[in-house]
Symmetry: C2
Subunit: 134 residues, 2 copies
């Protein structure tokens, strides 16, 4: 079976990245790598490396996006868990064969990575993102 | 400032560990290390090492516990993020000095580790656990 290598990142949805950095960077002492807009996910993201993973602070930039609606409904907090895999197509095929409900049946290709989401209904309420670095 | 070393684990609250392993182990292919009862947290926990972190599936064992009430109110899903620190007393002192709201002002000592929780109101809705391995 194609393997999961590690936790690539844990994403936290926040109202405002600058204000959130007041805790994660200034109080907790984590180091911000950079902030960038990720239009495919309708968000602005602060990347905070930690061990061999990352914490990502994710701020919605489009009020019509699913992320904005999630934030409005559930409030700030843990949003998704991203697992890095060796072979995302192989993993998606294996998940599909085993009947796991997917949000993306084929990966979205972005510079440096392919990604897809598993539906939270398949994963005990957890929105699981899969990454293959390319 | 005392440092955060890495993500020790990401905890997922589930109704039933055996049923949850049907996804995390059998479908996703992660390897279960072991399951143990953690009476101090009123839970049974499946430990699933992943890279230099772990995924933990946490099942409440006491219907009166905060964890049971959380599960009842919010449903299954991501529950807390555990960060491993070098010096938990130093970190708690630093957090307190900076006005961060804590659940535990002094660490709970368990075999092999000291632990304390930061209040989600301090951390953008995220329940943050701190671990120092001892």
């Amino acid at each position: 079976m194609p393997g999961v290598k590690k936790i690539n990142h844990v994403a936290i949805v926040v109202e405002d990245i600058d204000s959130a950095l007041g805790f994660w960077r200034d109080v907790l002492g984590l180091e911000l790598d950079h902030i960038e807009e990720v239009p495919s996910q309708a968000s602005k993201v602060a990347f905070i490396p930690l061990g061999d993973s990352e914490v990502e602070l994710v701020e919605p930039i489009d009020p019509e996006s699913g992320l904005s609606k999630y934030l409005e409904k559930r409030g700030e907090g843990l949003h998704h868990l991203c697992l890095e895999v060796e072979d995302i197509e192989g993993m998606l095929a294996s998940l599909k064969e085993k009947g796991a409900r997917l949000i993306n049946e084929t990966p979205l290709e972005l510079p440096g990575r392919k990604m897809a989401f598993i539906h939270p209904k398949a994963a005990n309420g957890v929105l699981v993102e899969l990454y293959e670095l390319t």
